[in-house]
């Protein structure tokens, strides 16, 4: 039997082609500004390492048909805990990171329990979470704090550690010296998270139940699957991955402030949607979300490389893309309906 092409795979393919296309255009237009260097691509990864983690968690929640809009505020809180802890309370970076991760788990458990066992709308629960985390950020400290080398040499070290890739991938600088491309440890962590979540979704019972719940919750219950527990764990996972993302984000910004990561949750949702995850649940995967993050990053990169454009153009481009993908998803759904 010939394998029928799945509409969802086409969406993923389109996302990927679009990314390649966008990046390719960037390479052609801004070749003189270094867009063709591998390092530009790696910088996108470095800047967005946090977003990759958050988008992975968001995808898991969206697969169940839910949503978690608390992630942006949670990141701000994480960053503030790290910055405040290091600069004002002189705490050890390792202790603080562990603390942040534990807070993520607790935060997620509360949200998960409310959503699954108290049957409250995920939007409302995570909105409460959003206000709470943003409020707590201000309670901890209202100032803009930066993490410098003096404050925590260890954390500073993590942030500035370079992992060099083979030199032949690099480029010649003006003095004729080969500069090897590099990534930061945060990228490695983000990619490990990505792979782990991918494997979890595809190859574990928990992962598949996430899809089942999003496909039809009643059916999933009737099939004897533990729907409530699964939903709860989805939110715990989201907040936990968000906390990992928060640490990575902090390594990139090296600061904490109340206004940080505003709208970050929307970036994560947008990345997932562009990557083919349906808001109604049951369809999507993290590879798509990863490509979604890359597209997001590429748009920003294109705008900054241009230098003359207002940075808000990046938002407008994202908006256009979102529309494009949502319409595309609808068209595929319609075609499927028609062909029945």
């Amino acid at each position: 039997m010939a394998k029928k092409i799945n509409g969802n795979n086409i969406l993923l393919l389109i996302t990927f082609v679009l990314f390649v296309l966008m990046y390719g255009i960037g390479c052609v237009i801004y070749a003189d500004k270094g867009f063709t260097h591998l390092q530009t691509f790696l910088n996108i990864l470095i800047t967005n390492a946090g977003l990759i983690c958050v988008a992975c968690g968001m995808t898991c929640v969206m697969l169940t048909g839910g949503i978690d809009i608390s992630v942006g505020s949670l990141i701000a809180m994480d960053c503030m805990i790290l910055a405040d802890g290091m600069s004002n309370k002189h705490m050890n970076a390792v202790t603080l990171v562990i603390m942040v991760l534990v807070i993520g788990l607790v935060f997620g458990t509360v949200q998960g329990v409310l959503v699954s066992y108290f049957d409250i709308q995920p939007f409302i629960v995570s909105m409460a979470g959003m206000f709470f985390a943003r409020g707590m950020t201000a309670v901890i400290n209202t100032n803009q704090l930066s993490i410098t080398q003096d404050v925590s040499p260890l954390f500073y070290g993590w942030a500035n550690a370079k992992i060099n890739l083979p030199a032949f991938l690099g480029y010649m600088n003006k003095k004729g010296k080969m500069i090897p491309p590099f990534i930061r440890p945060s990228v490695v962590i983000a990619l490990i998270v990505l792979v782990l979540v991918f494997v979890m979704l595809k190859y574990t019972k928990f992962g598949r139940i996430l899809y089942a719940v999003g496909g039809n919750e009643t059916s999933a219950t009737m099939m004897g699957l533990n729907v409530k527990q699964t939903k709860m764990f989805a939110y715990i996972l989201s907040s936990f991955l968000c906390s990992i993302g928060g640490v990575l984000y902090c390594l990139n910004t090296m600061s904490g402030s109340v206004q940080q990561a505003r709208g970050f949750e929307m970036d994560a949702i947008a990345s997932s949607v562009i990557g083919g995850t349906l808001l109604t649940g049951g369809v999507g995967n993290v590879i798509g979300s990863f490509v979604g993050v890359l597209i997001n990053g590429t748009i920003t990169q294109l705008v900054t490389t241009n230098g003359k454009l207002l940075s808000s153009w990046a938002n407008i481009a994202t908006a256009a893309l979102l529309c494009f993908f949502i319409i595309l998803q609808s068209i595929f759904a319609l075609i499927k309906e028609r062909s029945k």
Partner: protein, 507 residues
């Protein structure tokens, strides 16, 4: 009563819903290696007692015992029931449309590799084998939504069967299956029976009961009427037991006559078609005529009416109603032209469970008036009460939520909804599927009564005898085409004649 071989006993089961006693000291006994029919009218409590057993509902009181399980069993959810060996297939397909067929079969108990991850290759292989064994032709790696409801139902059954179950509950599994598929299912049921599995079989089809079952438990109004061996209970007595009255009613309907007024044509369609589902067809219906559409599942019966009604947009052809040309872009156009359509999938397409009976009846009429001309409450109550009475809807009150009514009563409410709009043309797609004989008869009578008043009706049903009783003319559908027409005046409409026409052979 110490009886050997007993698998499950349920005694004195009581379950109440707000305002309704659904089960009143009901009981059920299932033995090993038997197929046990559970029969009763709508609202008799068949589904409720089963849901109490499988943990979907929690009983108020009563005892459940099962062989090999200690004490009084109380299943909190379906997982508990599965763990002690009770597998269930419900009338509505309870699978996930977004997952592959193989996953739907194995989710929750997937084969694992050495490192505890899901072994997809093994799972697909086992699934394919399972499907091949049951003679169901599917590609198990495809997502479920690519397949028809009937095949989905077979997959749901396969899932239940493949689990090592001691008791298998089939809650009206055959209502979306065609004859051939039913045959496959019966074969499977007999195999399981030989292995010692106890099967509870809920159905409305009497023929099926007498074909496969060993014993019958009859329920009425939430109470236990009796348990009979199949050979001790002839059909008439079974029906009488279910209805609690004699079967004169049933006989009466068969003698009903309809005089189609030959004079006026209500609706004509020329060359209507919808790509992929139905070839161009011509259609005509006169005032006061009941036209039946006969054919197998997927022959284009539903597709034809969906096309007429505008639920699927016709790509070619024209339609006229009362001599005026009709441009139908969506169902609202056809509602305004005086059509009413009762779809076959009432769960998805018609029933608004969260609204009251009154609101459900009023809603189509309100849509016709427009959103801003609210029908006064006194009028609403009057209309609602009229149809509750006329259609004999069993409900606690007119403000009861529709979701709390049994399937047959929901169907009556939706019928009432469309009758309230006083349509010229009423399209009924499987109006009697999954409902009991008593209600079936009532609906058939109602259809004939309406036709006598001059309403035109298009009637689709998988049950030929029901069509023979109600229709004056029958169109035969096959593979998306109209292939023939039978009129009661020309030939005598018998099951044999129609089946021959459907099959398309002269044999």
């Amino acid at each position: 009563m110490a009886e050997e071989n007993v698998l499950i006993t349920m005694r004195d089961i009581v379950k109440t819903f707000p305002g309704v006693i659904a089960l009143d000291h009901a009981q059920l006994t299932l033995r090993k290696g038997e197929i046990h029919a559970l029969m009763g009218e709508n609202g008799a409590g068949k589904s409720t007692i089963i849901k109490c057993l499988t943990g979907v509902y929690h009983r108020d009181s009563g005892e459940v015992h099962m062989e090999g399980v200690e004490g009084n069993i109380f299943n909190r959810n379906t997982m508990d029931a599965q763990n002690i060996g009770i597998a269930t297939v419900y009338q509505e397909v309870n699978l996930c449309p977004n997952l592959s067929v193989a996953e739907n079969l194995f989710i929750g108990r997937e084969p694992r590799t050495a490192i505890r991850t899901i072994d997809w290759r093994k799972m697909n292989k086992q699934a394919q084998k399972l499907m091949d064994d049951l003679d169901i032709q599917v590609d198990v790696t495809q997502t479920l939504e690519n397949y028809s409801i009937a095949i989905q139902q077979m997959i749901a059954i396969a899932r239940a069967v493949d689990m090592e179950c001691k008791a298998l509950i089939l809650d009206e599994p055959t209502s979306s299956l065609d004859d051939k598929e039913v045959e496959k299912l019966f074969k499977l049921m007999r195999q399981l029976k030989a292995k010692g599995v106890g099967i509870i079989f809920v159905t409305h089809f009497l023929e099926q009961v007498y074909e496969v079952c060993d014993r019958i438990t009859v329920m009425r109004n939430g109470t236990f009427v009796g348990e009979y061996k199949i050979e001790e209970l002839p059909r008439v007595k079974l029906v009488a037991a279910m209805l609690g009255k004699d079967v004169d009613d049933l006989a009466a309907i068969e003698k009903s006559e309809i005089d189609p007024k030959k004079a006026e044509t209500l609706l004509t369609a020329k060359g209507l078609s919808h790509k992929g589902t139905i070839h161009p067809f011509d259609f005509e219906i006169e005032k006061g005529e009941v036209v039946g559409l006969a054919g197998l599942l997927g022959s284009g019966r539903s597709e034809l009416v969906r096309c007429l009604y505008g639920a699927d947009l016709a790509q070619t052809g024209t339609e006229t109603i009362d001599g005026k040309e009709l441009k139908i872009k969506n169902p609202l156009d056809s509602i305004k032209a005086g059509m009413a359509y009762l779809p076959d999938d009432r769960k998805a397409d018609g029933c608004i469970a969260g609204l009251s009976v009154r609101e459900n009846i009023i809603i189509a009429l309100q849509a016709r008036y427009g959103l801003f001309k609210k029908i006064p409450m006194s009028k609403q109550i009057e209309i609602a009460d009229k149809y509750i009475k006329e259609l004999n809807v069993k409900t606690a009150s007119r403000e009861t939520l529709l979701g709390q009514l049994s399937g047959g009563n929901q169907q009556k409410v939706i019928l009432g909804r469309w009758l309230a709009t006083n349509p010229k043309l009423l399209i009924l797609d499987e109006p009697t599927r999954g409902i009991d004989i008593g209600t079936k008869t009532e609906i058939q009578k109602k259809v004939i009564e309406l036709a006598k008043k001059g309403m035109s009706v298009i009637f689709i049903s998988s049950e030929l005898d029901e069509m023979i009783r109600t229709c004056t003319r029958m169109l035969i559908m096959r593979d998306g085409k109209k292939v023939g027409e039978l009129t009661s005046s020309e030939t005598e409409l018998t099951q044999g004649v129609i089946m021959n026409a459907i099959a398309g052979g002269e044999k």
